[in-house]
């Protein structure tokens, strides 16, 4: 019984992806004269060379972190979707610590990462506080905070931390003691291990601690939580702070491992992709791991396709939206599922 359900659940996923791909293929038909090659690159690109494979893994790191941050707040039905701004501000925090903290090996790196988490939660604190104190919609305020973060950080970095000897608008280079190591000559971001570990930890937090139990209860019915004697306001507040720390850390990891300076002149967009990752994972931190890998795979596949064949990588955005839409619209196989269950249930008795 359980098994048939699982099989159906999986079949549904495969069919949905299949349909999305088919539609994507049709799109390709119109945008290139070699649709087959382009499509093949899109699907298998990340697996064709080691370099591409590591590129795909590296891309999944920030997605996993922001997806994780958002799955936490979504669990409590809090819509603080400011992961983008938190990541940006967290990256700024990492830069401050990296450039100013004494260069003691390990300690420097750890402080830098903690600094990014701290700055991330400071950024999440504002919407959380407004919500708790004045019932202001955290959805609106967290979105606004994204832009404030963007302009504020750029202003500070470009005016006070800019490395004038570098050819671009970037900050001074971080000292080596604040580097997060990259592995192999293809530069695998070792933050991947942090992200995976953190996802597992957060999964345990949500499903295996009393704090997580309360988050889940409040996410389903806040009134019931209050009635049962939970401090709903304080839990909703702290979950936002925690989520901000994770998002901030995403920024810290990205800078200390991949760039070693502050390099962004525009919002990198991981915070928004994180929303997709969280939805796809159904807000389950454990599932954030495969979900982020999946999205990163699509992204890199599309980049490779774009680089090699000249098809606009924007196509991937269309594809991605399609998949999310189809996968979240669960109704597709519902009918088949219902029939199978009915049969099983009647047989069993």
């Amino acid at each position: 019984m359980k098994k048939t359900l699982l099989v159906l659940e999986f079949t549904r996923f495969v069919i949905t992806v299949g349909i999305a791909l088919l539609i994507g293929y049709i799109f390709l038909l119109f945008s290139t004269d070699k649709p087959y090659e382009a499509f093949k690159l899109f699907l298998t690109g990340p697996l064709t060379t080691q370099r591409r494979f590591f590129e795909f893994l590296n891309n999944s790191v920030p997605l996993m972190m922001t997806g994780l941050a958002l799955s936490l707040v979504f669990q409590a039905k809090v819509f603080n979707i400011g992961a983008e701004g938190q990541l940006f501000f967290g990256a700024f925090g990492a830069m401050l610590f990296a450039l100013n903290f004494p260069q003691v090996s390990w300690l420097h790196l750890i402080m830098t990462l903690i600094g990014s988490a701290l700055f991330g939660s400071i950024w999440a604190f504002v919407p959380a506080f407004l919500r708790t104190k004045w019932k202001a919609s955290e959805l609106v305020s967290s979105l606004m905070m994204n832009y404030i973060s963007y302009f504020l950080v750029l202003f500070l970095v470009n005016n006070y931390f800019r490395d004038k000897s570098a050819g671009a608008l970037v900050s001074y280079r971080f000292p080596q003691t604040a580097w997060l190591s990259v592995i192999t000559k293809y530069r695998l971001n070792s933050g991947l291990f942090i992200a995976v570990l953190l996802s597992i930890l957060m999964g345990l937090l949500i499903y295996r601690t009393k704090w997580g139990y309360q988050i889940r209860v409040i996410g389903v019915n806040k009134k019931f939580g209050l009635y049962s004697g939970m401090r709903t306001m304080s839990i909703m507040f702290w979950v936002q702070i925690l989520s901000g720390a994770v998002a901030g850390l995403a920024g810290g990891i990205e800078l200390t491992a991949m760039y070693r300076r502050f390099v962004w002149q525009s919002l990198p967009g991981y915070g928004f992709d994180g929303i997709i990752v969280a939805i796809l994972a159904r807000n389950n931190p454990f599932l954030v791991i495969p979900s982020a890998l999946f999205i990163a795979y699509l992204r890199i596949g599309a980049n490779i396709m774009g680089r090699t064949t000249g098809v606009a990588p924007e196509i991937v955005i269309v594809l991605q939206s399609l998949m999310i839409l189809l996968i979240t619209a669960e109704a597709l196989l519902e009918k088949f599922k219902q029939k199978a269950i009915a049969k099983e249930a009647m047989k069993g008795e």
Binding site: T209, K210, M230
Partner: protein, 515 residues
Amino acid sequence: MKAIEAVNITKVYPNGVVANRGVNLSIEQGEVHAIVGENGAGKTTLMKIFFGIERPTSGELRVFEKPVHISSPKEAISLGIGMVHQHFMLVPSFTVAENIMLGIEPKKGFFSVDFKKMENVITEYAKRLNFEVPIWEKVLDLPVGVKQRIEILKALVRGARILILDEPSSVLTPQEVNDLFDVLRRLVQDGLTVIFITHKLNEVKQIANRITIMRNAQVVGTYENREVTETDIVELMIGRKFEYDIKRERREPGEVLLTVKDVNYFREDGAHIIKNLSFSLRAGEILAIAGLEGNGQKEFVEILTGLREKAEGKILLNGTNILGAHPKKIRQMGISHIPEDRIEVGCALDLPISENLISDRFHTKPFSGRLIYRKRQVLEFGKKMMKEFDVRAKSPTTIVRMLSGGNMQKVVVAREMTNSARIVIANQPTHGIDVASSEFIRKKLIQMRDDGKAVLLISTDLQEILQIADRILVLYKGEIVAHLKNENITETDLGYYMLGAKRQSDEQIKESMKV
């Protein structure tokens, strides 16, 4: 002529629960047909199939002797079927008229609603039924009895020839039930057909022409009213012998546990909802608050349990004023609460039964250590509770949304009656629960009293109050109008006070409370 027939209907829910198994039912036109059965027997499911909310897995439906497929409430309505749900579906901020005509408003020109015509239509229907409804008032704070009439009008205006009522009487007072029955009789005289679900068997005997009994997803049989007694019905429902045997021995109550002093409450719009409420609750007694719905009970219970803010006065528990305290503190100080609204307040519908059962004690042993939440222990506990309180579901991991109304209520009751609180606030504790389980819960309440706990029972079910309460307060328009010992009083006596036709003097009430 047959109004509606179910032929060999089977319904299997997506999670594999068989709610109807080969059900055959045939309702004659112009009869009141009662459907009874234990919680989870499949009554609501069958009605949802008639009304197009659920599709049968197999089987056939016939309406006025024609085979039909009903795939939406819209189709059901066009076939002449109307349904009043157990949980009303009205828009609180709309007026009565707007609610009744929602979606079928008579138009004047292209955009504007023809209010005159709207009023005419409604008054005409209302007159035929001898109803009184405040047409231009907002539905918001109307008493349940009135809300129900609105629901019935809503169905009739849409041309219902067959009216389905799912537990219409479970929160009505006896007077309101009588009114409802008058209406139903009049409808039947007009040739309408009424299908009526209830757990109150005296009502069934009073109003039904025929009775269908369901057990465990199947129909046990359909009987003429005179063929069966109440006891027969119960025994057919549960499939074994059953005796009403609630005994309540007289007991001297112990020390005062809770003192309510001069509580006043004004709603945002300025209405004076609770007026100078004062009383005390002792260990080892069941104190009932009787009253028609909408006389301040709901607000008072919310104030008492910390769910409503901004009341004046004092509520003393162990010498501490708990008025305005956080529910967490109130619970810690030993107050447990069965809320009136199980769906909005009493459950997390999308969590499993087991996790709903521990929401007030998840942080204690054995469910949690310092940090860790022990899933296995929670499941074990869930299993145990389901057995003790006879919650019918596949397993403790079933989410509460998939339970029948009565089984949801049992989950709430199971939680609130098994914590270590010394005071239980029980607001309609047996709401929607079947005969046998209601007996069980009432016995349990009496046993808690005997163990030295205090029970504050808020109920519109006067039989329940007279059966188990030691003392009774009657609330009318937010005021205590009577304080009675439960000795030789009848439903009629209480009725006078509840309707405001009679009241004790303030001195009398004060005097009688002193003892």
